[in-house]
Amino acid sequence: MNILSIFANPYLWASTVAMAVPLALPAIGGTFSERAGVVNISMEGIMLISAFVSVAFSAYFHNAWLGLLAGVISGILVAYVFAWAAAKMYANQIVLGMAFNIFASGITAYLFNAIYGPEGTPFDTPKLPDVRIPIIDKVPVIGQILSGQNVMVYIMFVLIILSQWFLFKTTIGLRLRAVGENPEAAETAGIDVVKMKYLGVILGGAFSALGGAYLSIGVLNSFSPEMSSGRGYIALAAMIFGKWTPVGSFLASLLFGFATALSYTLQESSISKNIIMMLPYVVTILALIGIGGKSVAPAADGIPYRPKK
């Protein structure tokens, strides 16, 4: 296969965008959480739980939108417990994240077996629709990339813009960031630190849940145990590579998405897809150690804060 013909194939770029969705959404979620000073590595687990709940509701009510709603609510509930333990109980956030991930992988696999058994989720489970965009649809190449994608792709684009605006242009966004940088100062200025942490973590949970729902009822219409397959962790890397901003997280997710899409396309060629798959991780480490612009975390990220009052 000719290398140039691979890159000229619009399908590669279309799937790059599609593969970026379940990374960009939790990455933006992680951005909210860490800007509020809470490291949440349980995005992986929240994605898994939401993926399962979305399918179960979509199958039961025969409505994918209800499935999506239920998935997001489940993500918010789980994130709420996380926020309570992190902000009120001052638990070690990494330990907490591990607990949630192990629990999520266990409970989803367990319930999947208990409810659906070996046959798996029902074949006629509705999935979220693909959307054709009227005028762009007709444009060659660009139409093939930007039109006909799953509706979650377009929801993601709207959310990226909204998130960037919310975090950097609104008062609440400013407060959220202040809590992650210097909670003492924020508290002195009259900001409710605990409330802000709840907000950051819960937004994080909702975004991760959207990513999880996309996997089970956006790309597919079924669930399988461990289907998030480490995307929550990759999203963490994308968030760091994107310098803790929504737009940056999305661009970094595109890079990871591209590597995944390319590894599938290259399956026929002599270059091993596994080598291609390693690249984003190498790039993340390079970014972390400051090659190509240093990525600096919010100053109080991951440190439990006890209110003075």
Partner: protein
């Protein structure tokens, strides 16, 4: 001293107890079975007879060795979350040397593999994450996790049509030479003399951490990095060393798993031992003896869960649910403090005016 030991045991015990109850409720609701019967099946499946206990021990070996490594990092204030990758690297090196080197007697072949796997694990865990931490402040949670993924994809590359793939179409390596295999201790089980390596590792780590200057320094860095700096310790060097040691033990565990149980490398040869080892170190509160107990408990949980699945039809994944809950209930230690405080203040209210302060 006794009080301190009791406290460090009490917390995990409470967490385990609450988690078992929550797990029991899940069983009751979803499977409509008696949880006590299920737990009895689990327990006898894990420790009930010699065969089952041997299987539990087999699963405990990689957890003990990797858990020791994670505990060294924890003690030094580092969160080595990438033990899984270091485990893979150790296994890759062990497999390669295991089938490639022919004609060595076992008493040279096995030590050679052990040393090389430990060096490889140490480099994987120490060089990139350790140096990155010290010189650029890159958090080890992310770097070790990235290194894990690189290790796993690297192994897939080696096996799926790569240089380590055996003849045929299955992505697996050739079987290692007989001289690289650890002998079996209990017939018809997979329990190997890797058990002695694990016990030796516990002793070594115990002496290292509690009886040597280096161990004292590592723990001092973990306890208070600023104080360690003021005391004139070379903190940077200690951090790299701690990550390296941590990786060395994970690498050793990977090698022992290949030499004692699997004999060849394939895609799914580890059932997440590197991740479970983090739980082991947490439960053990980084104490080497505690690591043994925690590893036996968690290995028993996964062995017993399979037995429970066969006897009661309750899916074995429930074990993961319980493990997740246990860590959660350990993480929110503040809750116990608050409850204890409530009980104590509640008591003082009952005391007469002028009673003790």
């Amino acid at each position: 001293m006794v009080k301190k030991v009791l406290q460090s045991i009490l917390m995990p015990l409470i967490a385990i107890f609450i988690s078992m109850i929550v797990g029991g409720i899940v069983i009751l609701i979803t499977a409509k079975q008696n949880p006590i019967y299920a737990y009895l099946a689990l327990f006898s499946g894990a420790y009930g007879n010699l065969m089952n206990f041997a299987t539990t021990l087999t699963n405990a070996i990689p957890l003990i060795i990797t858990g020791l490594g994670v505990a060294i990092a924890f003690s030094s204030g580092l969160f080595n979350i990438g033990a899984e990758g270091q485990f893979w690297i150790g296994a890759i090196v062990a497999t390669y040397l295991g089938y490639q080197i022919k004609g060595l007697p076992w008493f040279l072949h096995i030590p050679l593999i052990i040393v090389c796997a430990m060096i490889a694990g140490a480099l994987w865990g120490g060089v990139v994450p350790g140096l990155a931490k010290v010189y650029t402040g890159a958090h080890e949670v992310i770097t070790t996790m990235m290194m894990s993924y690189i290790a796993i994809y690297f192994s897939h590359y080696l096996l799926e049509g790569g240089p380590m793939m055996d003849k045929g179409t299955i992505p697996q390596s050739p079987v290692i030479q007989n001289s690289a295999k650890l002998n079996t201790l209990v017939p018809n089980t997979q329990l190997s003399s890797g058990l002695f390596i694990a016990i030796l590792a516990v002793v070594v780590v115990y002496i290292l951490m509690y009886k040597t200057t280096l161990g004292y320094e590592l723990r001092a860095v973990g306890f208070n990095i600023k104080a360690a700096k003021y005391a004139g310790m070379n903190v940077a060097q200690k951090l790299v060393l701690a990550m390296g040691l941590s990786g060395a033990f994970a690498g050793l565990a990977g090698a022992v798993q290949i030499m004692g149980v699997q004999y060849r490398l394939y895609d799914s040869f580890t059932s997440g031992y590197g991740y479970t080892a983090i739980v082991v170190a947490l439960l053990a509160n980084n104490n080497p003896i505690g690591v043994v107990i925690a590893a036996l408990f968690l290995a028993g949980l996964s062995t017993g869960a399979q037995e429970m699945q066969m006897q009661t039809n309750i899916s074995g994944q429930l074990a993961d649910v319980v493990v997740g809950l246990i860590i959660f209930f350990i993480a929110i230690e503040e809750l116990y403090r608050i409850i204890m405080e409530k009980i104590r203040t509640g008591k003082t209210k009952l005391q007469p005016v002028g009673g003790q302060e």
